[in-house]
């Protein structure tokens, strides 16, 4: 069979059921079944598919994923995260677009405590949106900062998506985890500048209002009590990786234990909250791992059918420079981001991208960081960015989808600007990882 037909057959059998609404894992398994029958010779191929399902999961490098998810779930289910929002809210005063800045600060802080951008967005939206609406904030200045900063969880450790990308691509997990930090801070800085500038030029976007009078200690103490100790968890996770004391897996486990101890110290840890956090973590982990179980066979079939090799040799004919190849891959990820969730994009594109990265000689960590930021952008691009729907579900009922799209647009553009900067200044993504070497 020609590689073009093999490519269309395999992609068609994944994408058609996926867009129909079949769970992503099953769509991949469906393509694997077709591929096993057509390319691997029927029964033997099916047995190999089952063997690959366990071989793909019996992999220690996947273990940080549930640990990072657990860390965030403990923070959210115990309510510690809500106290942190209140503490940051007290700290920021007398600035244009105050609540928008609170959203960005809280989003960045929570990104350092949780690996889930959806949980981050839902938490910020549910907590800050009612107050922003009450204070007469323009939808663009209320929804946008939450959408933008909610997605930072994908870049800042503990990022489960970074671990997933690393373990599935063979790129250093430590490298991607550390490499996401500077771009995330850069994006957060863009948001702050944008909010302050726009609200200074047009104060009606975020009407100023008198904040309750408090003593200095009343403003600072909650931050010292509820935010600073939590940030030590981030220091534990990142510091232990940077200094080489612990591997990403070990640091993730230490982060999860630390989050539980912190919740207990704040007297927020109850059996009920622990039970909810564990069940939710289990559910999220299972759904991710079930997709991973299908991924090994999928990439094997793509390679065996000649589809991967065919695409690579086709691209070779054009004698493309590494820069063009990287930009091309990012455009594909951004386009898919409008339609799919990040996990599906990783699974569909990596079997082609990774051989290409190796062939053209692109720095893998740099590429991993770029891909991660592009995946983050995909969560806020219309029509089907996941965070857009998360935001809509927690925003006031009168909020329209159009308002959500429009609010996300400037923040999405700033993320794309960050991608451009990382492309032209690779050190933004590779400097921190180089320190760990």
């Amino acid at each position: 069979m020609d590689w073009q037909i093999a490519f269309l057959l395999l992609m068609g059998t994944v994408l058609a059921p996926m867009f129909l609404g079949v769970p992503v894992a099953l769509a991949f398994f469906g393509a694997n079944i077709v591929g096993a029958v057509v390319f691997f010779g029927g029964e033997a191929g099916l047995a190999q598919m089952a063997r690959n399902a366990y071989e793909g999961l019996i992999n220690f490098s996947l273990s940080p994923i549930p640990m990072f998810v657990l860390m965030g779930e403990i923070m959210f289910q115990t309510g510690v995260a809500f106290r942190a929002i209140d503490a940051i809210d007290r700290l920021i005063t007398r600035v244009p677009g105050r609540l928008s800045l609170v959203a960005v600060s809280c989003g960045t802080v929570f990104s350092a405590l949780s690996g889930s951008s959806m949980a981050n967005t839902a938490l910020l939206g549910g907590t800050l949106m009612p107050e922003m609406t009450r204070r007469g904030y323009h939808p663009g200045m209320a929804l946008g900062p939450i959408l933008g900063s909610g997605g930072l969880a994908m870049l800042i450790p503990p990022s489960s998506m970074a671990v997933l990308l690393g373990s599935m691509s063979g790129i250093s997990i430590t490298g991607i985890l550390l490499g996401g930090i500077l771009p995330a801070l850069l994006i957060a800085a863009f948001y702050v500048v944008y909010i302050v500038l726009r609200c200074t030029i047009d104060p009606s976007l975020a009407p100023a209002y008198p904040t309750p009078k408090m003593r200095w200690s009343e403003r600072v103490m909650p931050f010292l009590v509820y935010v600073l100790p939590l940030m030590s968890l981030f220091v534990v996770v990142v510091g232990s990786i940077l200094t080489g004391i612990a591997t990403p897996t070990e640091s993730a486990a230490l982060g999860a234990i630390g989050a539980t101890v912190a919740a207990a110290c704040y007297r927020c840890l109850t059996w009920r909250s622990l039970h909810k956090a564990l069940v939710q973590t289990g559910k999220i982990t299972v759904t991710i791992f079930f997709i991973i179980a299908a991924s090994l066979t999928f990439s094997q079939i793509l390679a065996f059918s000649g589809a991967t090799g065919g695409i690579l040799s086709l691209l070779n004919q054009f004698d493309l420079t590494p820069l063009v190849v990287v930009v091309g891959m990012l455009v594909i990820v951004l386009a898919l981001g409008c339609l799919m969730d990040p996990l599906s994009i990783i699974l569909i594109t990596l079997p082609f991208f990774i051989p290409l990265v190796r062939q053209v000689g692109i720095e893998p960590v740099w590429f991993g960081v770029l891909m991660l930021v592009a995946l983050e952008v995909g969560q806020t691009t219309p029509p089907f960015g996941l965070l857009l729907f998360t935001m809509k579900s927690v925003a006031p009922e009168s909020t329209t989808m159009r308002q959500v799209y429009l609010a996300a647009a400037p923040f999405t553009l700033m993320q794309i600007l960050a991608i451009a900067l990382i492309v032209f200044f690779p050190a933004l993504g590779t400097w921190l990882p180089s320190l760990s070497n």
Partner: protein
């Protein structure tokens, strides 16, 4: 495509369904508990190594098997909660009869694929038993055990997909976009 009309379950069916649901409730806890144990074990290992003892022997391998096991233990309960990641572009756009038809089709395809995964696990299991294949790492055991875990998990998963297919498509609460999980 005609969507089969639902039938009211008999008392016996309702009892079996309730028992099965309690069973899935119990299974739903297992992945979370295993993840909690993994966190504690890794933490203990780091502690032991840093105070001069050797790490826990075979820990990495046990954790790897736990990651594999918890996935197949958890897929059926996750399906019941509609937690599996799916792209709902089409379903969100459709309404009424078209939506119900597509939903029924999606669930029928899911049943077929889930059943085929179970079949492939069965073929692997039968092969492994016939050839007496062993898994050789720190722990040595017959390979069929791994296939048995996949088979059990995917059989329950297939049953859950079948139950969803049988659910009344007229229920207004049914067929809403599934809870999408991301990381």
């Amino acid at each position: 495509m005609p969507v089969p009309s639902p039938r009211r379950p008999s008392r016996r069916e309702a009892i079996i369904s309730r028992i099965y649901d309690r069973f899935l409730d119990a299974l739903e806890l297992v992945p979370g508990i295993l993840i909690g144990i993994i966190a504690l074990v890794i933490g203990l290992d780091v502690l032991l190594r840093n105070i001069g003892y050797i790490g826990l022997k075979g820990m990495i391998e046990l954790i790897e098997y736990a990651l594999f096991g918890l996935t197949f233990i958890g897929i059926a309960p996750a399906m019941r909660r509609g937690a599996h990641v799916s792209v709902d572009i089409l379903l969100m756009k459709l309404e009424g009869r078209y939506r119900r038809t597509v939903l029924w089709l999606v669930r029928a395809i899911s049943v077929a694929i889930a059943a085929m995964i179970a079949v492939s696990a069965w073929i692997g299991l039968a092969d492994a038993v016939a050839s007496g294949t062993q898994v050789y790492k720190n722990f040595i055991f017959p390979e069929w055990i791994l296939f048995a875990v996949i088979l059990s998990g995917t059989l329950l998963f297939t049953i859950e997909c079948l139950r969803q297919l049988k659910k009344t498509p007229d229920d207004p609460a049914d067929g809403k976009p599934t809870e999408t999980v991301t990381v």
